[in-house]
Symmetry: C2
Subunit: 431 residues, 2 copies
């Protein structure tokens, strides 16, 4: 199908893709946004779903609703299978979509760094479903622990290991540590002091923050009972243990993997230049080398000599630049280079404590914690979500309990997935 107005296809509805679609939609450009989910996920708050502070629906927003006010933005729920740059066509199951401009905003995926058994035996936390799975798993460990009598097994069930000491790993460790100790009143017959969170990091905590903040975080976590193992490299993960390179074994039923990411590059018919971590190399204008009408934004792309850390702000600003540059191209102008304006970074490490860096200022403690809550509440899409999150935070910080600690069985969902697969196989057509 071809349309008269040029069509911009955006693959991926993360921070970068959504921002580009919004900007183009506001200028009346014909946009097709494609994602495998029908919602946008606010990734920075995933760990609060995993630790039952927030409800799953509170950190996602339906994409069709997000773009209701922008009639030229269309959405398609699909898995992109391949891109053909020469013919300017994207293939999904039984569908071929042509484009005039393309924005690749497919984000990242977990990197297991070649560690034996890591992918099979650890839980990732990159999607909403994975965060729910972690919540279910943690609560199930407690339900299981009160049923068994073997001391070693109880210890294994109540030991929670987080691999990776970046922002995700640290935030999760702090929040999980609070969860497991607040569970005491639900399990009066279980000694919850036996439960422990262990964080493993190959170097120091928060490697992309000033060293001072890393050591502050380390002390804070230790003081609150988290076991922090620095300079520890994981060599193997089994269903019952994590092994370190010095042959130490930590027996556990729960390994959450937050160490490292790879670009989630879609399959492409033509080969493209990639940098470290499979990232697509793009020019300073975010255009793909050799394809002036294709942009790479967010975690999936690499810009030479720019120091970026894969945070939401970078993706949002790149999405905006890509949209601006497409608008310029449509007007016959030359695209401009991407210029990142660093508004600062913040991370929570526990109740009333955070760390951050804004401009030259390193922040820590209460002020960083409070700013984190403010900023994330502001950026979260949807008034209903903001109100709900605020309510849960008040409940959590004053009463020690945010969301219901429910374990939703997945039997019936499985069947529907099978159905879904059948249905998709029958699907056909072109857009």
């Amino acid at each position: 199908m071809t349309s008269h107005k040029p069509r911009v296809v955006i693959i991926g509805a993360g921070f970068a893709g959504v921002e580009a679609a919004k900007k183009l939609g506001k200028h009346g450009v014909n946009v097709l946004l494609i994602d495998r989910h029908n919602y946008h996920t606010f990734i920075p708050m995933l760990y609060q779903v995993a630790t039952a502070v927030l409800y799953p629906h509170q950190i996602v927003y339906p994409l069709r609703r997000l773009f209701r006010g922008l009639p030229t933005v269309n959405f398609l729920q699909a898995d992109v299978e391949k891109i053909d740059f020469d013919r300017q066509i994207i293939y999904a199951k039984n569908i071929a979509i042509d484009y005039n401009y393309l924005v690749i905003a497919t984000g990242s995926r977990s990197q297991y760094l070649g560690v034996t058994g890591a992918e099979e035996n650890s839980l990732p936390m990159r999607t909403l479903t994975e965060a729910i799975a972690i919540r279910n798993h943690i609560l199930s460990c407690f339900e299981q622990a009160i049923k068994v009598t073997d001391e070693a097994e109880i210890n294994r069930l109540l030991t929670f290991v987080i691999v990776g000491g970046g922002a995700t790993g640290v935030e999760l460790a702090g929040s999980l540590n609070e969860l497991i100790h607040s569970l005491q009143k639900d399990y009066p017959n279980l000694n919850c002091d036996r439960a422990r969170v262990i964080i493993l990091q190959s170097g120091r905590l928060f490697p992309s923050y000033p060293e001072e903040l890393g050591s502050y975080t380390e002390k804070w976590l230790r003081r609150h009972g988290v076991k922090v193992h620095l300079n520890s490299k994981v060599s193997k993960v089994t269903p019952e243990a994590v092994y370190l390179e010095d042959d130490t074994a930590i027996f556990t039923d729960t390994v959450i993997w937050t160490a490292g990411v790879l670009a989630a590059t879609p399959q492409m018919k033509q080969s493209v230049n990639t940098a470290d971590k499979d990232k697509i190399i793009v020019e300073q204008t975010l255009q793909m080398c050799g394809h002036k009408n294709v942009y790479g934004v967010g975690d999936v792309s690499y810009i030479d000599s720019q120091e970026l850390n894969g945070v939401a702000q970078e993706a949002i600003q790149q999405g905006e630049t890509a949209a601006d540059n497409i608008l310029r191209q449509m007007d016959g102008k030359l695209p401009k280079p991407f210029d990142y304006f660093n508004k600062g970074r913040l991370a929570i490490i526990g109740k009333h404590a955070g760390v951050g860096k804004i401009g030259k200022f390193a922040l820590k403690g209460f002020i960083a914690w409070f700013l984190w809550l403010e900023v994330h509440l502001l950026y979260l899409p949807g008034i209903r979500n903001r109100l709900g999150v605020l309510f849960n935070w008040l409940k959590y910080y004053f009463c020690g309990e945010g969301a219901s600690r429910i374990i939703i069985s997945t039997d019936a969902l499985m069947d529907d997935r099978e159905r879904g697969r059948d249905r998709e196989e029958r699907g056909q057509g072109e857009i």
Copy 2:
């Protein structure tokens, strides 16, 4: 393990089981409540989760939290495998639990009435997960419909068939009909008038209500676009169609099965007398024939010459009676017969319309709708849930949209289920 104080084991945390546990807990009796889920489900509102009016967590309540104030009530998340009445032991995976008194409150399951393909090709709606699966499936049908060009396939995707014209089927039909028409603004390129809800019923609608209410409902649903097929018996369900006994075929990708229930009787080592629908026959005191210390309550049991319909009120009152009778037995007194006090029944059929019967009065229209909302809000456990539900209802009845229309992918949950299975297989011990 034996304890000095007599132990009451309750299997099933539905309305009957929870009520019995509460009453016994308030009297300081040693209770062990067992359920396969860690939460209580407010079944009468399941259909509002299936149609995205409410969020899943709003109609469930964590059992451990429910009983925090009653220290003698313990909870165990487990699947009961077998009951041995002679040895007074219940077996779950790797666990054996002895009891002095037992309350069987295991509820009901779907009955497919021997219809070929019904179990494989239709969606049940008896648990929270099943309701979520229905919501996901309905929304996926719309996402799929905009991708295909074949007219017959679009019709099949947008045809939603509900089998069963009792309260569940009718409430679901009305709510689903509202959902599919409100989706027009999310799918501007799809003609949502093509979407239709069909309800199939072997006799008349609401067979357990006065005939006047059945015909009122029928007219109301027809006026709002629902296709009502009365006196229609389903003979076969395939992945693409429902066949009626007169050989009519209705082509559809969605069949929701609400017709008929069977008792969800646990496996028992000794044979027991059962009535119609596999129900355990109990005496007027709710005691199992021949086992004076075993009670059968709620949907799982049958009491001779009592006219009951399987509604929440009956289960609650039976749970209360069983608890009273156990307390009487502990005091050396004789149990009293169950005496049902019918407070009335209510059902919603759509926006601002309901039907009901309170005492001799048949209610219909706005007043029945309003009463339904009031009563269900009052009975729902938890203030947070009540506030949330009230908020969603206001949003739904004033803005046409209650909960977010998100399709949560289930890939990661599956893996955790597998893990759960492994873990359980390793589990052992006695309580």
